[in-house]
Amino acid sequence: MDFNFSTLFQQVINGLSLGSVYALIAVGYSLVYSILSFSNFAHGGFLVVGGYICYGLLTGFDVAFGREVLLSVPSMGGIWLAGLGAMAGAGAVAVLTERLAYKPIREHTSMTLYLLIASMGVSIVIENIFVILVGGRFRALPQGTFPAATFDLGGGVTVNASDLLSLGFAVFFLGGLQFFLMRTRWGLAIRAAACDLRTAGLMGVNVSRLIGIVFFVAGILAAVGGVFLSARYTLYPQLGGITTKAFVAAVIGGLGSLPGAVVGSLLLGLAEMLTAGFVSSQMRDLVVFSMLVIMLLIKPAGFFGKQISDKI
């Protein structure tokens, strides 16, 4: 493919849009890692929960029950309500996962490896719950969920309204997270806990509730990512697998660091889209994982990571 500036510009926009969705997911990985020092591989499951709740609300749950069991929401505010429902649902599932699967382990051992393995188990459970409930088919969000308009920026460069939307929402939610962490009482407690969880308990912080809040926030962000990813790639029970890339982005940025997660995600999104634009779409994943390998070789802690302990 020949180099030209309109392709470059086009792919930079696409890359930022994809990277911003990765960032929503990567931040969730990093947030949980910063508090509990393990990579929560059930995070992709939260995303799928969000995606299906959104799809269900938009279509009146006809997938699960074979008919419309309740008034579908398009008539009632459409994607806004469905999105809110997805966020609340995924947040609740994230909290439930922590309480049922992680808390009993946390209370018995400080070995985070067990949490990691449990999270892989939860991810398989969530995936298969959806295979049983709604089948493994690929589903597209109903037409008209997101505006289909494209804007011509001249010189053959076009931007999809949905790409702009996902970029805008990602910025909005990441900004919201930043506000929560920097300006609120519980946000301060979370930052303290990221530094030293045990000592945070000595400050009168209910650590159990704090961990619940962290999972709820991670679940909300995963749901937003899930809605935009299902708009981009369609929805299926294994969609959560895509969070592998967000995880790679979080590692490249430095696990546990939120700015790192955002920077890593944008880099990854750009690298993916530039590869697709100038080399070949099939090389995207090769480039992504090569970046991970190179990063781990030259700077194992990532761009913003502090400790170089085992990042699993």
């Binding site: 009482r185 301060l188 930052r191 303290a192 045990r198 945070a200 000595l202 400050m203 009168g204 650590v207």
Partner: protein, 234 residues
């Protein structure tokens, strides 16, 4: 002066190792009490057990005659505050943020609390915007004490506050502890630095491999030949 804090018959084991055996202690209102002993005597174990950080095999802790709750965060809310061993300041947060997190249990933090901490430790005020990780060891210890005071404790517990600090800094910090006590905060201090702890406190308990071996007035203990030989270095 009534009894404020009472620990009854506390035992803690780590597997087969009994770190603390049936230790009892009382702390009166506005009193300073020290627990001294060598490394491994069970002093930190005792502090962690009082704060709910380590599970007790047996033993009860009462504050004003009421049993303390089990979870650390509830214990802090009921009026105990620990300055942990090794200071444990939140290194990535600023001095100001460390103090603010100390006030977490209060529904309405009072700005005067922070002014009080800055009047006790003016260097913290000068460095309020700095990340706590950039402070010197002595300043971090001051910050850890200030942070613990922000929850307005009735009992301030200190675990080895002199650890790793220069003698001149230790003297400053212990002087401030006396001032804090004069403001009405009772103090329970655990120290390897027996001399400083005995000079500061009114009464003291001596622990040896998890057992109480001696207790009494700090002045008497300072003059006690056995204590002199074992803990005061001459």
């Amino acid at each position: 002066m009534g009894t404020l804090l009472e620990v009854k018959n506390m035992s803690v084991s780590y597997g087969a190792i009994r770190a603390l055996r049936g230790f009892s202690l009382t702390l009166d209102e506005r009193e300073i009490v020290a627990v001294i002993g060598a490394n491994g005597a069970g002093k930190s174990t005792f502090m962690n057990a009082v704060m709910g950080m380590t599970a007790c095999e047996s033993g009860d802790v009462f504050l004003d005659g009421a049993a303390l709750p089990r979870e650390s965060w509830r214990i802090v809310r009921s009026g105990l505050s620990l300055v942990p061993e090794g200071r444990k300041v939140f290194t990535t947060l600023t001095v100001l943020e460390n103090l603010r997190i100390g006030a977490f249990p209060l529904s309405k933090p009072d700005p005067r609390d922070m002014d009080w901490v800055f009047s006790l430790f003016p260097r913290l005020g000068e460095r309020r915007e700095q990340p706590a990780g950039t402070l010197s060891g002595g300043e971090q210890q001051m910050l850890a004490i200030g942070r613990a005071l922000m929850s307005r404790p009735r009992v301030l517990l200190l675990d080895e506050p002199s650890l790793g600090l220069a003698p001149i800094i230790i003297r400053d910090i212990f002087a401030e502890l006396r001032r804090i006590n004069e403001e009405g905060v009772s103090i329970l201090i655990v120290e390897q630095n027996a001399r400083q702890a005995l000079l500061l406190s009114r009464r003291a308990y001596v622990l040896q491999t998890g057992c109480l071996v001696k207790e009494g007035d700090s002045k008497a203990l300072l003059a006690d030949p056995e204590i002199k030989a074992a803990y005061l270095g001459h």
